[in-house]
């Protein structure tokens, strides 16, 4: 109410009144806005501009080449391969943490004995950098001294031992397992928080009505968690489309492009091949996919809340 009244007086009073009224707001937002505009908005626009050039990062002039880079996307075999891997990554890398995280959260829901120990341990990989994760898991998979092969040998499954990261048909999944190991703790704690809001009265009512444990879980618990599930799924999806760190640190996209995802491909085009124009076009592909996924998620959440 006060807002509206003051708003009209400010308009009548002209620029001076406008400034007097909004001065604090402007000054508070300005530092963040300037920094953000120069180092985020401007480069974002610049990305679009570069995608219409064949610039190599060195020459002073940038040749305008129209839609050539965009046409090239369609014939790019390596882009198709990278997109395929990214899709596998997004699907497996979302479902894995989601299922394991939910399972662990449900098992610890009633805070059984040892709750704190389990929670501490399950979340711990989440604080590691992807380089640390990459080195540790690179060791685990090491064909000579890795604990995975040693473990398999010791239970008589030596037939399964192999160089996990060196095998093109397995490497992507090997990296995914490491990523799921690291990501599950995050999903787990968010679900644990979500479960605190699930109504125990409803669960008891369902029990009285004769619902078994699975029916209670499926029909009473999960629907109440729907919002949390949406949020977590969206965050995993959006992060998955632009995944770079753990893949690059572990395999650099190899062997033979077996773990190439769109972000590692873009990085190489830009900073090892110096095809800046085309790399900018590739980065826009990631941008568009992320934007579409994010907007879809926001719509979904708004629908869930209304």
């Amino acid at each position: 109410m006060a807002d509206i009244v003051l708003g009209t007086t400010a308009r009548r009073g002209g620029a001076r009144r406008h400034w007097a009224r909004y001065r604090a707001g402007y000054l508070f937002v300005l530092p963040a806005f300037l920094l953000y505009a120069v180092f985020m908005i401007y480069p974002l626009v610049q990305s679009i501009y570069l995608s219409f050039t064949d610039w190599n990062g060195v020459e002073a002039t940038k040749n305008f080449v129209g839609l050539a880079n965009y046409r090239r996307l369609f014939g790019d075999a390596l882009l198709r391969v990278s997109l395929g891997h990214t899709l596998i990554w997004v699907v497996v890398g979302t479902i894995g943490p989601l299922v394991i995280g939910l399972l662990l959260a449900v098992l610890l829901w009633r805070r059984p004995r040892g709750f704190t120990l389990f929670r501490t341990a399950f979340f711990m990989p989440q604080v590691l950098s992807s380089v640390v994760i990459a080195i540790v898991w690179g060791w685990i998979y090491n064909p000579v001294f890795g604990i995975l092969n040693r473990g398999l040998d010791s239970v008589g499954l030596d037939g399964l031992s192999r160089g996990w990261l060196g095998d093109p048909s397995l490497a992507l999944y090997a990296v995914l397992v490491a990523a799921i190991w690291a990501e599950t703790g995050f999903v787990f704690v968010v679900f644990l928080a979500g479960l605190q809001n699930v109504s125990k009265d409803l669960l008891e009512a369902a029990t009285v009505d004769g619902a078994n444990a699975w029916q209670r879980f499926r029909n009473v618990t999960v629907p109440q968690l729907a919002n949390v599930v949406n949020v977590v799924t969206a965050l995993l999806l959006i992060g998955g489309f632009s995944v770079f760190d753990v893949v690059f640190a572990m395999t650099q996209g190899g062997p033979a492009n077996a773990t190439e995802v769109i972000a590692t491909y873009t990085y190489k085009e830009a900073f090892t091949q110096n095809r800046i124009g085309y790399a900018a076009t590739l980065s826009l592909v990631i941008t568009v996919i992320s934007l579409v996924a994010s907007v879809a998620f926001i719509r979904l959440r708004e629908r869930g809340e209304s």
Partner: protein, 297 residues
Amino acid sequence: MATTSAPAGAKRVPGRAAWSRPRGGAVGVGVVRYLVLIAFLVVFLLPFLWIWSSAFKTSIEIARDPFALPSALRWENLQRAWTVGRFDRYIWNSVIYCTAIVAGVVALSCLAGYALALLPLPRRNAILVLFLLGLMVPFQSVMIPLYYLLRDIHLLETYWAFIVPGIALRLPFGIFLMRGFFRGLPPELADAARLDGANEWAVFRQVMLPLATPGLATLVVFQFMFTWNQFLMPLVFVQRDELRPVSLGTMFFFGRYTADRGMIAAGVTIAMLPVVLLYLVLQRRFIEGITAGALKT
């Protein structure tokens, strides 16, 4: 619950009743539950224990039996990783980056988040949408032009190459988080202070900001962890080894000493120790921070 005709189990604590009704089954469920939990405990903790124990082993010991404890507590690996492996430098750099970036993100996000939540502002929605855009697009969207921008203004190959964009690109997250916290505060408090003659800065600094301390702590912890572990941005913008943060330094260290397994394990241990220790001490803050970050922005 109060009626006498309630079934036998109903007198128990309400929360328990639903779970422990079939007595025999409940014990079985309990055992299975702990078997699963302990299996995952091993999966999540074993890699840590393996690396930490390997930091005290010789390379030969590591290859001989990965599960054995070190034959003696050797500190040489850690010492060599610290000096020869340059972890002294990398850790120091990360401290510089984290201090500057966390301070920058927190200060600017508090100011802007407060204004966008509680101060009169024209075109508030347009500003919000612009910041929301930054929350939705990944770093790759701006990575390439940003590199050349930093080069042109001569920030590349200085600490600023990571600090400045490190702050700028995290503002959307910080602003939305802080805006959420400020919106949860009663605006009447600010109005009361204004009636007492306080100016807008005093209202913010002395009345509202202290009330947002939980949100502030969340942002600090979250941003610290993010910056400490950030990889792609310094990989692209920081090429001189003396300027590398620990996340990046670890990768190049690994490349230099691949065969020296004892030292590798020691380096990885040093790289993860600060953040793991901080996590163990401030565990609740970490978990609350992550949860709030996911659910409140």
